[in-house]
Subunit: 215 residues, 2 copies
């Protein structure tokens, strides 16, 4: 399924890099641990980093009841969520053609507070499983007090765009003979060795989903 | 110097994690390759990833003249820029105390188009040096046509906040005896081996600032 190109999501700059289909956009969302959430309050834009999870065509965010973002998004105001993977730096012979290899998704929708307790629990399960698949089963689940302290919102993905750049530099032909190195420096997130909590009781092993963590 | 706490930048949720001084905020900005830029157009928030550079108390962004973001920011409308480093995943015994170790900066200001050619060249130099220190000296500099095709804006950092979480999980005492692994999975960006452009002439070595790339 492809999101229609509208004034909201249409990429004007280098439209060749733009893609509007879910098959491209959703894996970009799912691979990212966090997103950047944009909302507007009295004409003032705010952008805040947040953990997210995707449930079909819906994004889930959570936060403390006290947070500005949760209050505002829960009220149903328009939201824009950006997710970006930086895959490398593109060094061209000319300054002008330097670039970043990236995969980004920009999502538009409106928030809605999740009030029903069972729906809230399911949303928290999705957020936890987004962090690491298998964690919900292992960890102590939220109690009534914790549930009450947490706000969860869902945002229907009404419109979205992916923008992707990959591969080598694209220099102008007349620059090919310049004695300047050109190429690509790949960047990838590295998951290092897990560190035990100092209070961890002896004999509790690191779960496989953390030891072999990948996204 | 410390930014005053106002309605704009004051952190309401876990204020212990908030810091308002330049000595904390500016290194977070400089270490990040990219930022997420938020702006509002007809009450609709937009968030777009962008390359940035910091020039003292000013942020510099650039883009094609045709881009929505450049046009809008150049007009002087309010901008919010978020920068986030994810340093690890915090696995607590309870779902509720799961967290992310991160260093984020949220910056507020208004954009202004850079029109003077020498100021524009200097801004492009800062953006290029932000990508990799030393690159401006090596690469072919922008010509008149390229300069004309590029918009550059500067945004005075009028207000800003850093928010930082680091260290181990903070579980509730009564959960300490649960047989659940707790700890931290560190995450760091990894710069892999640079890949030569297939059209690179033989005998041109990878510069040290790319071979030993770090931020």
């Amino acid at each position: 399924m492809t999101f229609p190109e509208t004034e909201l999501n249409k990429v004007k700059r280098i439209p060749d890099r733009a893609l509007y289909d879910k098959e491209t956009i959703y894996p970009i969302i799912d691979e990212a641990l966090i997103c950047h959430v944009g909302f507007t309050e009295n004409d003032q834009p705010f952008v805040i980093p947040a953990l997210h999870a995707r449930d079909g065509d819906t994004l889930i965010l959570h936060g403390a009841k006290a947070s500005r973002m949760m209050q505002h998004i829960g009220d149903g105001s328009p939201v824009c969520i950006a997710i970006t993977h930086v895959d490398g730096i593109v060094f061209a012979r000319s300054v002008f053609h330097h670039s970043i290899n990236y995969r980004s998704a920009v999502i538009f929708g409106h928030g809605k507070l999740i009030k029903k307790e069972d729906e809230k629990m399911r949303a928290l399960e999705m957020l936890t499983e987004h962090i690491a698949q298998g964690r919900w089963h292992d960890a102590r689940l939220p109690n009534q007090k914790e549930l009450a302290a947490t706000s969860v919102v869902k945002i229907e993905i009404e419109s979205a765009t992916a923008k992707i750049r990959s591969g080598d530099p694209k220099d102008d032909k007349e620059d090919y003979d310049l004695p300047v190195w050109s190429g690509m420096l790949p960047i990838a997130p590295q998951y290092l060795s897990p560190l035990n909590d100092p209070t961890l009781a002896p004999g509790i092993a690191v779960p496989d989903y953390i030891l072999n963590y990948t996204r």
